[in-house]
């Protein structure tokens, strides 16, 4: 009974931590965005206010011949508008004339009518132009500076009042919002600390497995038998923290089977697997279900890219963050606030990862039809969505050309360095393996041949025999 209670307790604490973490992250990323939003809104309002002021003061300004340059440009703009309007009308009339000229038998009778129409149009244009001129251009005899002076003062005062009002209003808004947000952030942080402490206490009761301090993954006599075939036979090795570990071997040596055992797609016939997860505790992988492996911090890619073709690249990345979502099904059904906040946090994270891997150009592109090298890189980006401790790559360079392989090697090193992830890969491209791996393990027919630095493996006689055959 006690272990189950302990497990439930831990689950509950983890859920609470997730919820608080999401809200905390969301608010922290949302606070500057909101402040900027408010500021732009304020600027817009001020802009409109100034426009409105100039609109009200316009007639007096013209009469007083103030800012004549500005009003001259406006006048020109208005005139041009009228002129283009009448240009098109005239063109339509002449076109109609041409059309009728070809058809009509009595053109000499009809022509004066058309000419008169054109004249009328010209008159209309002139009257409109005169109206605009009367509005914007003032006669020297009509100059009236006193009216401007008296009105300007009142208008300016009202404008300043409104301006101050808007300024204070938005200042208050920003202050209030940031205060509230900071309070909530602090509260969430407090709760987070509390639950982390509680979680630590609860976890002390969990079973502890022996493993060295700097080791991430440990296989202990792993065996996998398919009927009579021993795909993996008594294999044991250790993967150290932060290194790039390569597993090599001829075709059919059981490399992918090892991967499938670690990620629990296969149930191993014998042997134990231990893993140090994100929280620093050691778990036995044999006890974990296949879809919970990712929660411990192990992510894998597949030999042939497995994209979701109906979704664009950034949404493909969000699928990988599936386990990080805390909102329940009903929350998603009703598009709850928590979900919306989580979506913002996740999207920001995905955009950052895409930027890091030089993929931001493809963020809103559908993956169908993209080059193979890009798809492989997107798959790599997808693994980073869950802050992985161990990334398992199944033949990352398969089907890539030399330039793409070079790029991939660079990307893998970058991931290892910047995301503090241990990388475990199976590869046939010896150039890549010898180039990037810190430790290489060679297997043949499910058995370990040699383990060591790339140089050791290159010099090993056993390995050469396995690849090229005995003498």
């Amino acid at each position: 009974m006690v272990p189950i209670l302990n497990k439930l307790q831990i689950l509950w604490y983890e859920k609470r931590i997730g919820n608080h973490q999401t809200k905390h992250d969301f608010l922290q990323s949302f606070l500057p965005i909101r402040i900027q939003e408010l500021n732009t809104k304020k600027d817009q309002k001020l802009h409109h206010l100034s426009l409105k002021k100039s609109h009200t003061i316009l007639p007096y300004e013209i009469k007083a011949n103030i800012k004549s340059d500005y009003w001259q440009t406006v006048y020109e703009y208005e005139t041009k508008k009228i002129e283009t309007k009448y240009y098109w009308r005239l063109r339509a009339l002449t076109q109609a004339m041409k059309r009728k000229q070809n058809k009509s038998d009595h053109w000499s009778v009809e022509e004066p009518k058309h000419l008169q129409k054109i004249q009328e149009l010209e008159q209309k244009k002139q009257t409109e132009l005169a109206k605009v001129k009367a509005k914007f251009v003032v006669n020297p005899s009509d100059l009236n500076k006193e009216a401007y002076a008296s009105n300007n003062e009142a208008i300016e005062r009202a404008y300043q009042d409104q301006l101050a009002q808007i300024e204070t209003k938005y200042q208050n808004k920003i202050e209030q919002f940031s205060n509230r947000a900071n309070n909530i952030i602090a509260k969430h942080k407090e709760r987070l600390d509390y639950y982390h402490r509680k979680l630590k206490i609860a976890e002390q009761e969990k079973a502890i497995y022996p493993m060295d301090e700097n080791v991430v993954l440990k296989l202990d006599n792993l065996s996998m038998h398919f009927g009579g075939l021993k795909a993996v036979d008594q294999l044991s090795f250790e993967v150290k923290e932060g290194e790039i570990f390569g597993l090599i071997g001829p075709n059919g040596a059981g490399k992918t089977t090892v991967f499938n055992c670690i990620t629990r797609f296969y149930r191993p016939t014998g042997g134990l697997m231990y893993f140090r997860n994100n929280l620093g505790e050691v778990v036995r992988l044999n006890d974990i279900v296949v879809h919970d492996i990712i929660k411990e911090g192990i992510v894998r890619t597949f030999q042939n890219v497995e994209m979701i073709w109906e979704l664009n690249v950034i949404e493909n990345l969000l699928v990988a963050a599936h386990t990080s979502y805390r909102s329940t099904f009903f929350g998603q059904l009703f598009n709850s606030r928590l979900l919306r906040q989580e979506e913002v946090v996740m999207r920001l994270k995905a955009t950052k990862i895409l930027e890091d891997l030089d993929l931001s150009a493809y963020a809103y592109v559908y993956p169908y039809g993209l080059p193979y090298g890009i798809l492989k890189k997107i798959e790599l980006a997808r693994t980073l969505m869950v802050n992985p401790k161990l990334i398992i790559l199944d033949e990352p360079a398969a089907g890539l050309n030399d330039a793409e392989t070079e790029n991939l090697a660079e990307t893998i090193r970058k991931i290892q360095k910047e995301y503090n992830a241990t990388i475990f890969l199976v590869e046939h491209d010896m150039g890549l393996v010898m180039n990037i791996c810190d430790t290489v393990c060679a297997v043949s027919f499910g058995k370990k041949l040699a383990i060591g630095t790339p140089k050791d493996i290159q010099g090993s006689k056993v390995v050469r025999e396995a690849y090229l055959g005995g003498e």
Binding site: L51, H55, T263, H291, E306, V319
Partner: protein, 360 residues
Amino acid sequence: MTYKTEMKQLRKHRWDTIKHHPYFGFLIIVFLMFAVQLIRLLGVDVPVAVLRAFGSTMIFTIIALGFSILLGYGGLASLGTAGFVGLGSYFVVYFTNQLEFSIFLTIVAVLIVAVVLGTVVGFISLRIEGMYLAIITLGLSEILNEVFKRATALTGGTTGEGIDGIIFFKNLIAVDHNTVFIFISIVLFIIMLLTMNIMKSPTGRALLAMRNSSSAAQAMGVSIFRYRLLAFIISTVYAMLAGVLYMTYWSFTIPSTWSLGFSLNILAAVIVGGSQSIYGIILGTFMIFGLDLAVFKQIQFFVDNPAITIVLNGVLIIVVIMFYPGGLIRLVQTLGVKLKLWFQKLKKKWRDYYYGSDIE
């Protein structure tokens, strides 16, 4: 520029944000469905068949939406839809005639039963896939159908059973098609919103991942068990809810309606419309269930030769599937693009005619 032009732009911008809101299209669709009723209220003589066509399109769209989550998102085939819809309708019969419960209480009861049934079918789907799953669900549907026929005390047997009205709160109210039309359109609107939310949420993405590759989905933390169950539960809930609405609209149910043919029709509606688009599904459902009543039955030639309508409908479906495997929605999209280009061309032609060409 000046104050006035700037304000004009701002108003335009506001309207644009409303126009492009994801829910705006649903509102338009429900309004269009409802417009048929409004026209009738204005005094224009709309044939009853057209009204019925729109009513049944709305009801069956709900089933098809559930089915699209199952097939288009989950990648699971099922032919058991008819049985669940029938069960929903018989629940209304039993609850109204014998227990005299309110319709809202009936809906709650139906939802609970649907969740249980969906879980059962979901459990079956864990071990079986593809065509075999379709056949198993077909068997389940046939069992239900046989129960409708044999359990005469509850269902009225092969001759069917009707209700005299709906109990909204306390009293039995005679069914009025107009009020029910409002009720159904509101429910349809809500269902469309919820479906949209599911499709855009992590759940929808997880379902799509499962459909593309179950092993990759598992590696990304999607529990196949959970999401298969969920897909079946959603589709069953939608189907049984549609059964309740069917009863409120038609007030009569008979076992022969809920046969294999109905399930196949729903499947056809989803495939023809486009299995991942809400608008496509509405179009597909209208094509399968409403086209005959709303269009063909209004033309004298087709009324005289009813056999031709069936052939024509079949030919239409074949043509759509052959040239637009993505469904009617693809057809509409390509047509839209083409129409836009054609319109631009026409505009230029008119311009040359009216103003004269620039080159001259």
